[in-house]
């Protein structure tokens, strides 16, 4: 069967678009072929910077003929209906129609045969449509034709189309079509510089070979293999090792049709710059690989470039040219790095006062303060030194303001670590500057140093709580602040470090810190209004006053109040002195404001006294005030906890845990200790793999089923303790006894967080449960006995709830 060769030859296609474009071309052409009844044997697509190519082999020469039947009017129908039928089906008379009998009568049937078309004609029809509708991420118009509407859009100007179709043994035919004035033919071109002449091609095999002779390697994988092998070889020959970089390799292979790999070098003095910065400089700006010394693991002063030509001078000029470009780049990087080292990280922090993190969540400075305080709260829970955690949180974001990070955002954190180390910070503090961003994704490493863990948790929780508080949650595929990733990060930090901490209380702390930011922001704006006397006059003052009072209500426990209260008191005094003719409502509001202020001032004074005399009283009052503050944030914390539960479920499932076991544990409710949830699910999974587990589950389910049937029947539940006096059979007594024992044992084990022991305790229920169902008839004729036995069944269910809700578990 014949093959199709298609090539779309254009100006340089962006490297990042090539792979997907090749894939799209293959998919679009083959889908369309199949839709046209042309089932092919195989297809492969390729891309170079200047061409997309596709070969589809084993396409039938013709479409199959299509036979369809069409039912017409009844025999004896009016002439108009018959004429319409003939016209629609192309029959010349009713003699050509069949007659079909069915219960409703006899009908004319037309047999329509649609002969299949030649595949080459089908191709000539579908290919231009595919070219015109090709899904480039960005496309453009060009040339004289772009002056008229409807001109072709392509990723860059399209110059030639090759489209041939035919058998291996014969001279193939050109698929005749044209797009925007470009006629499909069988002429393509070789390498832009080394073999630019036209080449006539017949089919894929000679196409690929002729291109190769014209210095074009068609297959991107082949180009990658060449670059990778040659680069490794070049490094190895000098006793070095290539620093492998798949992403860069993909990109570089999309920038050349004929890869020529060469090695250049730079002055060894630049090796004083951190390796990661050298690599970022050389990779991002110059698309070159770096090379390391296998003995030290450090970079050497070499780089590997990939040119697109075999230069007539052997590449000397090219290597020298690249070295000339890399030198000033490294010189800049070195200058940035050395400049950065001259300023201590903490001295950069004041600048964060001017940088807004998020309009509603305040400045970066406010955010850093919150993270510092939260990290200090979390530190003892994760075994970190409080002072170190605070210090690390204090410095961790400072590298964002350094020159190197400004130039290469991907080394943020890492530079913080270098700079912290350089200014003599503690090792853990320096490490946390880098590691507090981790884990960045499911594959990223989870930090283990407690200082890093504390700051990483504080950073992520601050982000999550903040965006939840201003109601910017992820929806569907939209998650612009990467909140799902942050939540997964928190989960992994806790689970993989086996940390015991209440997530709910950490979230609560964080929300209080955010509340403080909100209050301070409001206080700032109120204070500046008061200072400028720019508050509204007359009736409009009512709203202003209401805002001020609301502010006092919300933030009376905060330290931002005294200053505001004092300036408000000043404003009130002034207003009463000059405002003789002000309207009644305004003066009334001023009076109300005065009352609130006097309350606030008194409270501040009293707080100071209590703090001196009875600090524990003040602490209790602060707790009240905190609860009051949190009441302004609705269900933020509950919603966020539910979000964590969802992410945890996803995470556990992705790790292979059964989703029903996860549900069974979550159904217990009030689970905010992530580690306990994980351990329960693990223990439950193991238990259910054992025979005891399986049988107990079966018994529990049987009990649940009977209960739910009888509960429905009686329209009541069977809660409450069974009456021991009503037990008549030994199996009943044995079960009751076992339940009592198991409940106690399991609860004790759960209290010790020994879920394996709790499960073993559960296993003891199995024999009495089995024996009970064997020997005891639940629906006894005596209603009292029946009720009692149902209550006993209910006890089985409640006993198992010590570890999980068994009813959620599937068989």
């Amino acid at each position: 069967m014949p093959d199709l060769l298609l090539e779309l030859f254009s100006e340089e296609i962006p490297a990042r678009m090539q792979a997907k474009a090749a894939d799209d071309l293959r998919r679009m052409v083959t889908d369309k072929l199949v839709a046209e009844g042309l089932v092919y044997e195989g297809a492969k697509a390729f891309a170079t910077p200047r061409r997309l190519a596709l070969t589809v082999h084993g396409i039938p020469v013709r479409q199959p003929d299509l036979k369809t039947e069409r039912r017409g009017p009844k025999i004896g129908a009016p002439d108009a209906a018959v004429q319409g039928f003939l016209k629609a089906t192309g029959l010349t008379s009713l003699d050509e129609a069949k007659i079909q009998r069915d219960p409703k009568g006899d009908f004319y049937i037309a047999l329509i045969e649609k002969p299949g078309r030649d595949a080459i004609d089908v191709l000539a029809e579908i290919l231009p449509v595919i070219i015109r509708t090709f899904p480039w991420p960005k496309s453009m118009r060009w040339g004289a034709r772009s002056g008229k509407p409807g001109s072709l859009s392509w990723v860059r100007p399209l110059h030639a189309i090759t489209a041939t179709f035919g058998l291996e043994t014969e001279e193939p035919d050109v698929v005749k079509f044209s797009v925007d004035g470009i006629e499909a033919g069988q002429t393509t071109y070789g390498h832009r510089f080394m073999a630019p002449s036209a080449i006539s091609v017949r089919r894929f095999e000679d196409y690929e070979a002729k291109l190769k002779a014209a210095k074009v390697i068609l297959d991107p994988q082949a180009r990658k293999d060449i670059i990778f092998a040659d680069a490794k070889e070049l490094a190895f020959a000098q006793g070095f090792e290539l620093v492998e970089d798949q992403v860069l390799l993909d990109e570089v292979s999309g920038l050349v049709e004929w890869p020529v790999v060469m090695m250049g070098s730079f002055e060894a003095e630049y090796l004083a710059i951190p390796d990661e910065v050298i690599r970022a400089t050389i990779r991002n700006n110059q698309k070159c690989f770096v090379v390391k010394d296998p003995k030290t693991g450090k970079l050497t002063n070499k780089f590997v470039l990939t040119a697109n030509i075999e230069a007539t001078d052997g590449g000397k000029v090219i290597v020298a040219g690249n070295e000339r470009v890399i030198r000033p780049r490294l010189s800049d990087a070195k200058f940035f790095y050395e400049t950065d080292l001259k300023t201590k990280l903490e001295d950069r922090l004041p600048k964060f006062e001017q940088i807004v993190f998020h309009e509603k969540l305040g400045t970066q400075a406010a955010r850093i303060k919150r993270i510092e305080r939260l990290a200090a709260e979390i530190a003892p829970l994760v075994g970190a030194d409080v002072a170190k955690a605070k210090r690390a949180a204090h410095l961790a974001k400072a590298d964002l303001l350094t020159e190197v990070v400004g130039e290469f955002p991907e080394v943020q954190g890492l530079m913080g670590r270098y700079y912290a180390k350089a200014q003599g910070e503690d090792d853990s503090v320096a490490a946390a500057c880098e590691e507090h961003y981790k884990p960045q994704g499911p594959a990223d490493r989870v930090p283990t140093d407690p200082v890093s863990v504390a700051v990483a948790l504080a950073d992520k929780i601050d982000t999550l709580v903040g965006f939840w508080a201003i109601n910017e949650k992820p929806t569907g595929s939209k998650d612009p602040y990467a909140l799902r990733r942050a939540a997964l990060g928190v989960i992994r930090l806790i689970a993989e470090n086996r940390l015991r901490m209440s997530l709910a209380s950490a979230l609560r702390q964080s929300l209080l810190l955010h509340h403080r930011t909100f209050s301070l922001k409001e206080a700032d704006s109120i204070n500046s209004d008061l200072a400028n006397e720019s508050f509204p006059q007359g009736e409009a003052f009512v709203d202003f006053s209401a805002n001020v009072l609301e502010f006092f209500r919300k933030s009376v426990w905060e330290r931002c109040v005294p200053e505001t209260a004092r300036s408000l008191a000043g404003a009130i005094a002034k207003r009463f002195n000059d405002g003789g003719d002000a309207p009644f409502t305004e003066m009334y509001e001023w009076a109300r404001a005065a009352q609130t202020v006097s309350f606030a001032m008194t409270k501040i004074r009293i707080d100071e006294i209590i703090l001196d005399e009875r600090p524990e009283v003040l602490r209790e009052m602060i707790v009240d005030a905190e609860n009051f503050a949190l009441s302004f944030h609705g269900s933020t914390l509950e919603d966020l906890l539910a979000f964590f539960a969802d992410r945890l479920k996803v995470q556990l499932r992705e790790q292979g845990a059964r989703h029903d076991l996860v549900d069974a544990v979550f159904a217990l409710g009030d689970q905010d200790d992530l580690l306990m949830i994980v351990r329960r699910v693990e223990a439950l999974g193991k238990f259910l793999d054992s025979d005891d587990g399986k049988n107990l589950l079966a018994g529990t389910k049987r009990a649940s089923n009977i209960l739910s049937i009888e509960e429905k029947k009686d329209k009541r539940t069977f809660d409450g303790a069974p009456d021991a006096a009503l037990y008549s059979l030994s199996e009943e007594k044995a079960l009751a006894k076992a339940i009592g024992e198991v409940k106690a044992e399991a609860s004790a084990a759960v209290a010790k967080e020994d879920f394996a022991a709790a499960m073993s305790a559960m296993a003891k229920l199995r024999p009495p449960v089995d024996a009970f169902f064997d020997k005891v008839r639940v629906n006894d004729d005596d209603p009292k006995v029946r009720e009692n036995r149902l209550k006993l069944l209910n006890e089985i269910r409640s006993a198992t709830r010590a570890v999980a809700d068994f009813s959620k578990i599937q068989d």
């Binding site: 100006e11 340089e12 990042r16 960005k138 118009r141 040339g143 772009s146 697109n308 090219i318 040219g321």
Partner: protein
């Protein structure tokens, strides 16, 4: 390269010879060789010969040198290749000819860059000018890993679709000349191609200017005056735009598009100076860019109602 040139006129010896070689090459391709526009601007694209002429149906082929002022890039003459004033060589061809890439490569050959020994590459670079309301697709052109030119197919300018599309080439002259002359510091470029006492370097011509303008741009530029100038240029631009419309028969015409656009160029440069002085906050910055873009769009609209803009 023209072998008959005397040594001091050769592009690899002389900065001015280099410019002349480019001008001559593009003149031979049918471009009109313009002189620089007589206003301060951030890039050759701002020249009305590009911004405005890119709009409308009429063919247009031009090439010119444009001094480009980027106040923020001043380094007091201390950086080897960063300056607040440098030259761009700009080519615009509308509609873009089918062999524009080949012409570009030939132009490199004309200034001494041989594609048999140099690695020349077209690397994706989508161009966008927020102040001009313009965008296009194309590449940055690399020579041995160094970006030497921008190559853009204009798709939209001043908020209007380009029909037909113009091809635009921008050569960074100093950088290319440094490469061709083999010097690492821009001030060491041989300007006139002479040697010994007769030699004039780029530094002789521009170093003092770089130092003085860096002081001006970062320290002394009168911000109160500049804020005022921005407002005045914006107001004048609006005024000329409003005054220029004529309703004649069933079509609208504009009679003052070019003078109005001058004020848009002025506003843009004043904004760049204010930005360099650090007196524009991040949020204000966006709003200034928006204001200039609105002017550019209105000028573009006026232009397409002029004769050269294709209205007649």
């Amino acid at each position: 390269m023209d072998a008959s040139l005397p040594a001091h006129m050769r592009p690899e010896r002389s900065f001015q010879g280099f410019i002349l070689a480019l001008q001559r090459f593009w003149a031979e391709q049918g471009c009109v060789i313009l002189q620089p526009y007589d206003m301060e601007m951030g890039a050759g694209t701002f020249h009305p010969a590009t911004t405005l002429r890119a709009l409308g149906p009429k063919p247009w082929n031009a090439a010119y040198v444009q001094p480009s002022r980027r106040p923020k890039d001043g380094r007091y003459g201390e950086n080897p290749n960063r300056m607040q004033h440098y030259y761009q060589f700009q080519v615009i061809m509308k509609p873009s000819p089918p062999n524009l890439q080949e012409l570009y490569l030939k132009s490199l050959a004309a200034i001494g860059i041989d594609s048999a020994v140099h690695d020349i590459r077209f690397v994706e670079d989508d161009w966008e000018s927020p102040t001009l309301g313009a965008w296009g697709l194309g590449w940055e052109c690399w020579c041995d890993g160094m970006e030497v030119s921008q190559f853009t197919y204009f798709q939209q300018v001043a908020g209007f679709e380009c029909a037909p599309v113009a091809g635009e080439l921008t050569y960074g002259l100093e950088r290319l000349a440094m490469y061709v002359q083999g010097v690492d510091r821009v001030y060491d470029l041989n300007f006139n191609g002479r040697e010994g006492d007769a030699k004039v370097t780029y530094g002789d011509v521009f170093l003092q200017a770089e130092q003085e303008y860096s002081r001006h741009n970062f320290e002394y530029a009168d911000t109160a005056m500049l804020f005022e100038q921005f407002k005045m240029a914006e107001a004048a631009c609006r005024k000329y735009l409003d005054a220029g419309w004529r309703e004649g028969g069933n079509r609208k015409q504009h009679l003052l598009a070019l003078p109005a656009y001058d004020q848009c160029i002025k506003a843009s440069h004043v904004f760049n100076l204010l930005d360099a002085r650090g007196v524009i906050s991040v949020t204000e910055r966006q709003s200034y860019i928006f204001r200039v873009r609105e002017l550019a769009k209105a000028c573009g609209e006026a232009w397409i109602h002029t004769e050269a803009g294709g209205a007649a």
